[in-house]
Symmetry: C3
Subunit: 139 residues, 3 copies
């Protein structure tokens, strides 16, 4: 059995944004030397997500507007978490919709994906350095 | 260490539907010969989900109506993804609520489940062939 | 390859509540003797969740109120699942937002977490005994 651990770092210049990290994850799988296994990719923060969907700009606009409707940033006083001095309660909630992590099969050394699957890091509280963790297990 | 890969194929005749795939997944686990491990089951598409909940028809009606309220199909022009000529933006969003995949423990060769857990494939953009991937890792 | 299986049991005295189970999960990882691997933690029920977010009481109030807005308990007659005699349809829906399970990397025998990540069991239909499953795979 082999395992491989790697971090990715990001600094999204605005509060929210989506980054396609599929190639970074494939590079980590290749570096692992693992041919058959499972690959976990997770945000190491509680105000961002890792998710799999389409790399289509219109969809990303829809996702951002839709999440804003489900968990609005403003007025910030509506959320008790913001009583701590933070203004990011909505980011903690939005991240629950898209999820903390994805687990992807590795087959013959490749992310085992359908035609349109792409991995994204979704930032909901950016303008500072954040990290994602990649852990590959297999042989 | 052993690994096993298998695809399931579906063609849901309507736009939306839930299929209980628990027995299919157990058959894949049995075919793998793996006694102790983890089993990943994921949609290979970005407009459908794999999730675990109750096999109760009233709940499935609730899930469909609830998801339609959270991410409505119509009017299709409300979503920028549909500017590409698609009409399935809502399917990309609904799938984020139920999730892309489940990971299930395998113990003594069986899906290690509580009393009511059942695995479903949830279609949100059907009327064409779709696939789910099963990957079992363990020994 | 090693694997380890353990159950946690809970009885939340009210309908809804969040329990921080991070230390319990770390103890299971330590007991497993696994240094490098993956750790799955899942609810064994279909009306509760396991999720990762901040251990901040204001946020937990926000989460409860937010989920109640997205999937209201009352009026119970709005949900077809409750035609079976249950009153917990909303619990089945709320659990879809927070998710059934988390998968966490294990590195050098520890849950491989960012600074603020904590694991919670989220109960949406309490006042009776419930269980979560921990399965660790690795070596």
């Amino acid at each position: 059995m082999k395992s491989h651990r790697q971090e990715l770092t990001f600094e999204v210049p605005s509060r929210r944004g989506f980054l396609n990290i599929t190639d970074d994850v494939q590079r980590a799988v290749t570096a692992s030397g693992i041919q058959e296994g499972l690959c976990l990719v997770n945000s190491m923060h509680i105000t961002s997500s890792v998710f799999i969907n389409d790399d289509e700009p219109g969809l990303h606009k829809d996702l951002e507007r839709w999440l804003e409707g489900l968990a609005p940033h403003a007025p910030t006083a509506q959320w008790r978490h913001n009583d701590t001095g933070e203004d990011n309660a909505d980011a903690h909630l939005k991240r629950e919709i898209l999820g903390r992590s994805v687990t992807v099969a590795v087959t013959k050394g490749r992310l085992d994906f359908g035609r349109w699957e792409q991995i994204f890091y979704a930032e909901f509280d950016g303008r500072r350095q954040k990290r994602a963790l990649i852990k590959v297990l297999g042989e």
